[in-house]
Each structure stands twice: as C-alpha cells, then as structure tokens.
Amino acid sequence: MNWATIGTIYAKELRDTLRDRRTLISTIVIPTVIMPALVLGVGKVTTAIVSKAKVEVPRVMVIGGADSPGVRAELEKSGRFRVETATVDWKALISDKKVRAAVEIPAGFEKALDTGSAPAITLYDYQNELKSGLAVERLRDFFTGLRDRTTARLLAERGLPASLARPFAVAQQNVVPQEKVGGNLFGGIVPYFIIILCLMGAMYPAMDLTAGEKERGTLETLLCSPASRTEIVLGKFLMVLTGSLAAVMFSLISLGGTLLVVRASLSQGPAAAALGPNTPTIDPLGIVGVLAMVLPVAVLFSACVFAISLLAKSLKEAQSYLTPLAFVAIIPCMVGLLPGIELGTGLALVPIANVSLVCKEMLSGVWHWGYIALIFGSTAVYAAAALALATALFRREGVIFRT
C-alpha cells in the first residue's frame, strides 16, 4: 500500500468535493446554520408566540355562580378576563378555541366562604393547548389569591395571626454546579445533533464518490490507473470522513458562537437579574470528550455510508438506500434524549446509543473511564469492521461494474 497514492487520491477528492455545491451544503452550510436556527430561531419564535398569547385577555365562561355575584364581579374587575355567562355549547366553544376556558362556581359558594367550608371550584380547559393553558393558569391564580385573602380575613376575624395558615415555608436550592445542570439539560440534545450531523456530513460525499462516479463513468477511468483498489478505497474514504468531521466541526463552532450570543444577551437586562449566577453552562472538557468519542462514530458512519453507496449504480439509488439508514441511526441516538436511562455494560456495546449516553454523562461532568474505554474501543472495532466491509465490496467486480 502506497500512502503517497492514497494522499494523491484524497487531495483530488477534496478539491473535487470543495467545488461541489451540493456537498458543501450538506457538510458546511446546514451544520453551520442548523444550530443558530434551532437555538435562536426556534427560541425566538416560541418566545414571540408565548408573549403574544400572554398579552391576549382570554375569553372565559362562568358556569353557575348566580348566587355569588361578588366573585363574578371580582373576576370582571380584575381586567384579566373577558367574562361571559356560559352558554349550553360552552364545551364546543372551548374545543373550537373560541372560548379559552370555563370556571364552574358551585351554588352557595360565596356564602360558604364565610364559614370556611366552600365547595370546590372546577376549571375546564383544552388540555395542552397554549392559550387555554394560560387562561386556566390565570384563573387558578385568581382563585388561589381569593382563597388566601379569605383565609387571612377569617383568621383576622378570630384574632389569629395570618401566619397560622402557613406555619412554615418550603424552600428549594440547587447544590450541583451549573456545568452539571447544563450538561443534564443539554447533554442529550447536543450529542443527538452531533451524531446526526456526523452522518449527514458523510452521506453526500459518500454517494458522490461511489455511485456518482459510477454514474458519470469516472470510476472506470480511475480503476485504469496503477492505484490499487485498497488505495482507492482509503483515499475516497478519507474524503468521506473529512465530510463527516467537517459537519461536526462547523456545527460545534456554530453552536459555540450561538451560545456566546445567548450568554451575552442573558447577561444584560431583566434576564440577568432573573437568572443571577444560576445560568446553566456546559463543561468545556465535556465538549473535548464528545469530540474524541465522535471520531470513531464518524469513521463508523463514513465506512457504512461508503459501503452502502457502493452497492448503488446511481446517485438516486444511493439516496434511496441511505435515507432509511438515517432513520436507523436516529433511533439509538434518541436513547440519550430519554430521561432515566443509565449507562450499563449492555448498553455500552450498542453502537450509537452508547456514544449518545456517554456524551451526555461527559457533558454533565461525569467521567466513567471504564465505560468510556469500552465504548471508544467497541465503536472503533465496529468502525474497523465497516471499513473492512467497504474495502471488500470495492474489490468485488459485481459491485464496481454494476450498471
């Protein structure tokens, strides 16, 4: 095997790929744009939608409560609701999003307040609907306030202190460093995107360098040269790996930049006051760990997509083979997103899922060196096997000359 020949093939493939707009989009543009788009774009859109929903004064209906005019008057006076008397079709109106919520005030409610034995108020909503949820939240807030004021008044009437209703408070405080909090928060999603981008970055160069070359007739031209099949595979494979790693690098650089922008915007104004020192961060060492673990994954993906693309005789056929692979890869990736799944010896041997989980741990500042070694080693073995398969396939005449 001649490394100079492999270098020559790699250099040519790199030059060729850098002139291919479609590959540049999948390896550089999408990875660079997707992170800011997700973090800033989706975040901004969500904030805008929620803010708009919060500004709206919700239309709510009151069921019953004819003998409790004071409560209804207070509801109207609060200015937080557009109060209407319930019609017979109030459920349908909530379902059609014409009315956000309804409140049922039982008979004799106001009178019973004075004795401290009022029956339950029932709130009706459209479950998991944003504006309905906000309306119900306001209603709950209103009635909780009414309950607190009633309690205070009843206690005062009996000459008792208001603190009697709440003899002690319950406080909650985080004791874990913010790196761990951030790791736990982002630890699932960051490796998920990195692993997916790792695959995406490898896909187009792999298709172009194998099936694409078969389709264009340039593979036969290359096979006429003195370069051996192994040298050709390795030269091309290195280019596919470069595509995969480039996608990861560009996405990480872009993510870093995006987080800096987010951090800068959070360090000013009301957001900074609200968060104080409690801004979740990511351990930089964790990022280094993720990059190290991604290397064998990139080799594994590159070799797999290279081998699969080799079987196709055209770009279109290669695309139809690789699209299902993307779904197959996403499933183990999602293990890291699921709450409560802990890394064990069995899971440490499941490709992709193991990397997803260990990356989540590393980003949280947890370093299980035994598992890290096992996962790195097993992924490297899978990657080597996939590369050996790709090389074996490239030697098969039926695969190379399939037209």
């Binding site: 020559t8 060729d16 340039t218 003195p226 051996s228």
Partner: protein, 247 residues
C-alpha cells in the same frame, strides 16, 4: 507486446445463469501493430479488454502485457497500459490540466517532470486554449483530447481502445483514429475494439472476430476475406459469426 492465453471470464447471473464473457481467448500482438477486436454488441470485446487492463480478474487463463502477468502483477500492467473507452469519462469539476496531472501523479510523475509532460501533451494535442477550463465546460472534441492526454500521460507501452469513437461525430472520431495511428507509428502495441467494419478495415493490421466471448477467426482483413470468399468485410463478418444467415 501483448499475449493472451486461453483468457476466460465467467459471470454468474441470477436469471441467465452462467455467462462466458470471454471464452478461452488467445492472441498475440507485437509492438508497433494494431490488433482489432471486431464484434457485435455483447460479443465479449469489453470483457476481454477489461481483463487485459486488469479491471477484471480472469476466471482462468492469463495474459502478459508489456512483460507483466495480468494475474500476478496487475499494478505493473496498469502502469504500462493506456486505456481509453467510451465509458471512461473525465471529472467534470476538474480542469483538463488537473485531470492530466492527477493521472500523472497516480503513475508516479510529479513536480517539474509532470509539468513538462503536461506542457508537451498540450503542445502536441493543441490543448493550450482550454487546459485550465473545467471539463464540464469543454466541447466533445476538447474532452476527447483531454482523455487522450490522460491516457498517455505516463507514456505507456500498450494502448487499449474500447470502442473509443462510439457516439462521436465524424470530426472528433477522426481525431481518435489519427491518434491510434500515431500510437502505432511510435511503436506502441495497440488493441482496438470496434463493431464498425470501416474502422477495422482502415486501422487494424490484424483483426480478431469475437462472438459469444470466443475468438472465431483471426487474420489480416485480406486473409479474412480470402478465408470466407467474401469481398466485403461486413459479409465476411456475418459468414464467420453466423454462417447460417442467408445473404
């Protein structure tokens, strides 16, 4: 020199079963001669030439190309062969110069000798006007010149042409034919496959008629005509590959 000995290639097809792409093909071509492989589509021309260029491995038999055995020393064979076929395309996103340089490097050339070789080829083939233009922007004629330069950048002893004029217009085809004659004049061993009788008649010193993967007859055009008693090469070809077909 090229010498094929009982060169055989068997393909296995799921529906058609065993296909003999090349069936005990034996022939010998000396330096400075053009050997024509004449056959219809699917006769086994491409398979035979791919075996000689080591793109395929023979099922049995072998060949010696420029002093190297195709089974034992495939890399050395390829280093001494220039293979030009209708199916060997150019890299669209590279310039003509980059394509020639790439194949020069794969053949061990580099630096000043490679630059000098590219300049010499550009002079010879009149390529200077488009040498730095991407192949996707070249006309068919320019592409053919680039392909020729790519094929001979390493100055191979043996030239293999697999239906190189297929689908080309008359003017571009003439460039190729002229180049094939030039190769003979320079003392190279040339193997030329075609299904065009006129090309075989004009170019080849010896013609091998191939059909069903096997070499059915061999000789100069005059010898083949004498053998079949026909004055027209096309009729002669039909008599050899399908003796039962009426005139």
């Amino acid at each position: 020199m090229v010498e094929a000995t009982l060169l055989t290639k068997v393909f296995h097809d799921g529906t058609k079963g065993e296909i003999r792409g090349a069936d005990a093909v034996s022939f010998r071509v000396e330096a400075g001669r053009i050997y024509g492989l004449l056959g219809a589509n699917g006769a086994g021309k491409t398979t035979t030439l791919r075996l000689l260029a080591t793109l395929l491995k023979p099922t049995s038999g072998t060949a010696v190309v420029a002093g190297h055995d195709i089974v034992r020393e495939p890399g050395k064979v390829r280093a001494n062969v220039g293979f030009l076929a209708a199916s060997t395309a150019l890299y669209a996103r590279l310039t003509a110069r980059e394509v020639i340089a790439y194949f020069g490097r794969l053949n061990g050339l580099d630096g000043a000798p490679l630059r000098a070789r590219i300049a010499a080829l550009a002079d010879e083939l009149e390529m200077h006007d488009f040498l730095d233009r991407r192949c996707e922007k070249l006309s068919t004629g320019m592409k053919q010149k680039t392909s020729i330069a790519r094929t001979i950048v390493h100055d191979p002893q043996v030239m293999i042409f697999d239906e190189p004029t297929l689908g080309l217009d008359v003017m571009t085809a003439r460039t190729i034919i002229g180049f094939v004659r030039e190769c003979r004049a320079r003392g190279k061993t040339v193997i030329y496959s075609t299904h065009v009788m006129g090309e075989a008649e004009k170019l080849c010193d010896v013609v091998g008629v191939i059909h069903g993967g096997a070499l059915r007859a061999e000789g100069t055009v005059a010898e083949l005509k004498a053998m079949t008693g026909e004055s027209d090469l096309e009729e002669c070809f039909i008599r050899i590959v399908a003796p039962g077909v009426p005139r």
